[in-house]
């Protein structure tokens, strides 16, 4: 089949991002031709400010070098402006007369700076601030001239002013409004910003209207006159008074425009063959001037160009960060407040910190931060997700650390960290490595940074900090990942929630069937989605869906923990932590017989035999099995251990028999697979020697029965378990615990610990079902028991079945060549 022709008008960040997204989805669908008016390949326009400030060079900000176009078969015309679209003949005509036919056309013509309609606007020395050419001219002028005036005290104007000042010019910022950056800041924050910029030597004239630009003897601009008669010297005038969507081309082709080129939620214009993305577009009446929404638009547009037809763009919440080194400023959403909103304000002018959070109906709708923007990304996420903040409202102002959502993340302000400060403790990545990768590779998302630097890709506790570094490096281009509807992985656009729901509603029972039905993009998935799918299938359809060992991580496939040298560790189960001399003897015999180099206790108080060769595993298990021991599942996303204290059986303080309770719980849960590992503890009295306060379920004996706690965690970030309810009998402990765990099994996302699950759905939701609704509780408990019935010890299964045992055997070959068949 002949390829269709896609022509892209506009070689900037939005147009090329759409092409990149399209190539990912359908690399062979189109012959692609790109027209760019500027003589450069696609570069990162938002980093022009650091270039002007002398912190980066043009080469640093190129996003797609010319080789990228060639490698991807994209024809590029640089320095050619498209002047006309012939919609009948379906072709575009460029300024040099060249023509290009299209089947689909993508307009990404961006915006043009607004030039004040005042006398003198055409004089040499009067420029806007939009592209590389403008930036070059400003750098050149700074070397030869003295006085610069920037008209416009918005984001762009201030960045221009700061850069010119750093290049040695005397800079005055003229602004029509009563305070700076009024589109992004309230007056209090703007005043602090002004004071801080004045301390750097910038001058400001607020509420001043420019009347004319005056020509000097050289023919160049020499001064600027205001309506009130005041004149100030100006060798360079930078107009940064806003941008206008560049709709001239679209209008000349009589495409409907209103502020921008009007598009629907699929980024299609009124001509179905023509799409538009970026600053030139008006979507639901809004034209965006920041880069993050453009990327979202590009993704949706690419989906439709690829004929997938499933994505919708429904608008963006935007955030802003000023890229002036040393000034931390962040704003997002509706930061001015108004009717029906509450404002939470922290104002410390001497300390140079101002924070305002705007709350409406228990959701955060906007934020302004000055001086301390460490939590900007977090607030932005809360705004985007429209998350209910009722429970954290009184801590909200003090940031994410105070709420306790991350590990050692965010302790330091990202912007002020030195380059050699270590960010990712697992992979040894420093801040400088991350910043360098972001700049040199043109990274925009957390996932990209993880792939390229490995930072935050292991335990994830530094994620918040990496996000802050990303935000402070690329400013407004940063969009935090959508935590609610985030796709499972690159193999699909569906979120964990959607995948779970679909498997249940469509009664899908195998991985190939699920992938087919949900139109997986890869033939056999990846190590992220396959284990998740396998878990969702077996937990939703116990007895029907067949477990797929090849979709499990090696530990669960080999029923032992792989170690750094490729050997394994073996942890026999000890119900409730109880053992016998006979079991200990058998363990000692195994350790001797197989020369186990290390024997220790695990964190869950079980015996760990480390350093066993894979080939020996079945023999070790056979010996342990002969002494009555089974798998301890110390390797699985599954029930791990129930830790117990001595309890009323021996302890003089004990109120309940915690050992017996622990044994019963551990036996009930044997063989339970779950979204992530599950650990329990039972203490016989409130002294809580079993440390039940940091377990997924903590049971604490009291005189009248037991207190149940859920969603504790002693891992990456310590989380204290929350009180669920009090119960009277052992049977109730089993029923309530079982019901809670089954709810987690049915609703939790793969690799989500109970603490994260409960944080997501809310403890009230859990209480309503597990505590308040006796019928639902019983049903959940029964479903758990149904799923766990007839569970066979995986160790003895591996010992008994030759086909399974093969997994552990090494093939020994006779190195004699035979005649090739």
């Amino acid at each position: 089949m002949k390829k269709q022709k896609l022509v892209v008008v506009g070689n900037g960040m939005a147009g090329i991002r759409a092409v990149e997204e399209l190539l990912k989805l359908a690399p062979d669908l189109y012959d692609i031709t790109v027209f760019g008016a500027e003589p450069h390949p696609n570069y990162n326009r938002i980093l022009l400010s650091p270039v002007l400030a002398g912190e980066m060079t043009i080469n640093d900000i190129i996003l797609n070098p010319l080789g990228w176009y060639a490698d991807n078969g994209v024809r590029l015309h640089v320095g050619k402006t498209v002047t006309r679209i012939d919609r009948t003949a379906r072709k575009v005509i460029a300024s040099d007369g060249s023509e290009e036919e299209y089947d689909r056309l993508l307009l990404a013509t961006g915006s043009t700076p607004f030039i004040l309609p005042i006398p003198g606007r055409e004089l040499p020395g009067v420029i806007s601030y939009r592209d590389i050419k403008d930036t070059d001219e400003m750098i050149a002028t700074a070397a030869t001239h003295k006085h610069a005036v920037v008209i416009g005290g918005g984001l762009l104007g201030l960045e221009a002013a700061n850069g010119l000042k750093l290049r040695g010019m005397d800079v005055t910022v003229v602004h029509l409004m009563p305070w700076l950056m009024e589109r992004q800041l309230d007056k209090a924050a703007a005043d602090m910003l002004k004071t801080s910029l004045e301390a750097r030597g910038l001058k400001f004239l607020l509420e001043k209207q420019t009347e004319a630009l005056i020509r000097g003897e050289s023919g160049r601009v020499c001064a600027l006159r205001f309506k009130d008669g005041l004149e100030i010297p100006a060798d360079l005038v930078v107009m940064a008074a806003g941008i206008r969507p560049n709709t001239a081309l679209a209008e000349s082709a009589r495409l409907y425009c209103n502020r921008g080129i009007v598009v629907n939620d699929t980024m299609q214009t009124y001509d179905p063959r023509i799409y538009a993305v970026g600053e030139c577009v008006a979507h639901r009446g809004i034209a965006y001037g920041l880069v993050a929404p453009l990327f979202e638009q590009a993704k949706v547009c690419a989906n439709h160009l690829a004929n997938f037809g499933i994505a919708r763009y429904t608008g963006s919440v935007t955030s802003t960060k000023l890229k002036v080194t040393g000034i931390d400023l962040f704003s997002a959403g509706n930061f001015m407040g108004g009717a029906g909103t509450d404002e939470i304000v922290l104002n410390d002018p001497s300390g140079g910190v101002y924070k305002k959070l705007v709350v409406k109906n228990d959701t955060l709708v906007g934020a302004v931060l000055y001086g301390d923007t460490a939590d900007g990304a977090w607030y932005f996420q809360l705004v985007k997700d429209a998350q209910n903040i009722h429970e954290i409202r009184d801590h909200l102002m003090f940031g994410q650390n105070h709420v306790g959502d991350v590990g050692h993340a965010g302790k330091t302000l990202a912007a002020t960290m030195p380059d050699d400060a270590q960010v990712c403790g697992c992979n040894g990545v420093c801040k400088g490595d991350i910043v360098k990768a972001i700049k040199s590779q043109g990274l925009f998302t957390l996932d990209d940074v993880r792939k390229h630097t490995k930072a935050s890709s292991s335990c994830g506790s530094c994620t918040g900090l990496v996000e802050q570094i990303l935000a402070s490096t690329i400013g407004g281009a940063y969009t935090p990942a959508d935590s609610r509807d985030k796709p499972v992985c690159g193999c699909t656009d569906h979120s964990h929630g959607v995948v779970r729901q679909t498997i249940r509603e469509r009664h899908l029972i195998s991985i190939p069937e699920a992938m087919r039905y949900m139109e997986w993009k890869t033939p056999s998935g990846c190590p992220s989605c396959r284990p998740a799918l396998n878990y969702y299938l077996i937990s939703t359809w116990p007895g029907e869906a067949k477990d797929d060992p090849q979709s499990r991580f090696i530990n669960e496939r080999a029923h032992a923990n792989i170690q750094k040298d490729g050997t394994y560790s073996v942890v026999p189960r000890m119900w409730g932590g109880l053992t016998t001399p006979a079991e200990l003897r058998a363990i000692a015999d195994v350790a001797d017989k197989y020369r186990v180099p290390t024997v220790k206790m695990t964190g869950g108080a079980r015996v760990d035999l480390l350093g066993i060769k894979k080939e020996d595993l079945p023999k070790v298990w056979a010996d342990l099995g002969a002494a009555g021991m089974v798998s301890g599942h110390a390797y699985g996303k599954s029930i791990r251990t129930v830790k117990t204290c001595v309890g009323a059986e021996h302890c003089r303080f004990g109120t309940q028999k915690s050992m017996a309770m622990g044994v019963k719980l551990e036996r009930m849960l044997f063989g339970m697979w779950s979204p992530h590992k599950v650990k329990l503890a039972v203490s016989g009295c409130p002294r809580n020697c079993a440390e039940a306060g940091i377990k997924d379920i903590g049971v604490i004996g009291v005189d009248a029965g037991y207190e149940l706690y859920v969603a504790g965690n002693g891992g990456i970030k310590t989380e204290v378990a929350e009180f669920l309810c009090k119960v009277k009998s052992d049977e109730e402990v089993m029923e309530y615990s079982g019901a809670f765990l089954q709810l987690y099994r049915e609703e939790g996302f793969y690799l989500e610990r109970t603490c994260h699950y409960v944080a997501r759905v809310g403890l009230d939701h859990v209480k309503q079902i597990v505590v308040d609704d006796a019928a639902k509780r019983k049903e959940l408990h029964e479903r758990l028991l149904f799923a766990l019935q007839d569970y066979e010890d995986p160790w003895q299964a591996a010992v008994a079945k030759p086909a399974v045992r093969r997994e552990y055997e090494v093939i020994r070959i006779k190195e004699v060549a035979e005649v090739a068949p």
């Binding site: 990846c526 190590p527 284990p531 090849q550 090696i554 060549a817 035979e818 090739a820």
Partner: protein, 103 residues
């Protein structure tokens, strides 16, 4: 030396699974993909020496079990942006038998 050495029957390797062959040239991981192709790699990840044979096979790639580096089965090259290469061995499956060529 360029003759073919008999390894095992094809169905002794699980689909999307692998087996380890002990050879005079070190351990060799033999992989079988979902579409029944077979590949051979030195059983050592170029990153920190992890046993690739223990990884998850997806498409024509294996992910190392230790730190998740992805290695292409066809060429032994790490998937970008990671860098690194594992030695590969000629392997073929014919009439249900897997054959290996030592380098």
């Amino acid at each position: 030396m360029s003759g073919w050495i008999r390894v095992c029957a094809l169905d002794e390797i699980a689909l999307q699974g692998s087996r380890v062959v002990a050879s005079s040239q070190g351990d060799i991981a033999i992989f079988r993909t979902a579409d029944d192709q077979v590949f051979g790699l030195h059983d050592k990840c170029p990153h920190k020496g992890g046993p690739l044979s223990q990884g998850i096979v997806h498409g024509d790639t294996v992910t190392c079990p230790l730190h998740g580096m992805k290695i292409g089965l066809k060429d032994g090259e790490a998937v970008a942006p990671d860098k690194g290469c594992t030695r590969r061995f000629e392997v073929k499956a014919e009439d249900g038998t897997v054959w290996l060529q030592l380098n």
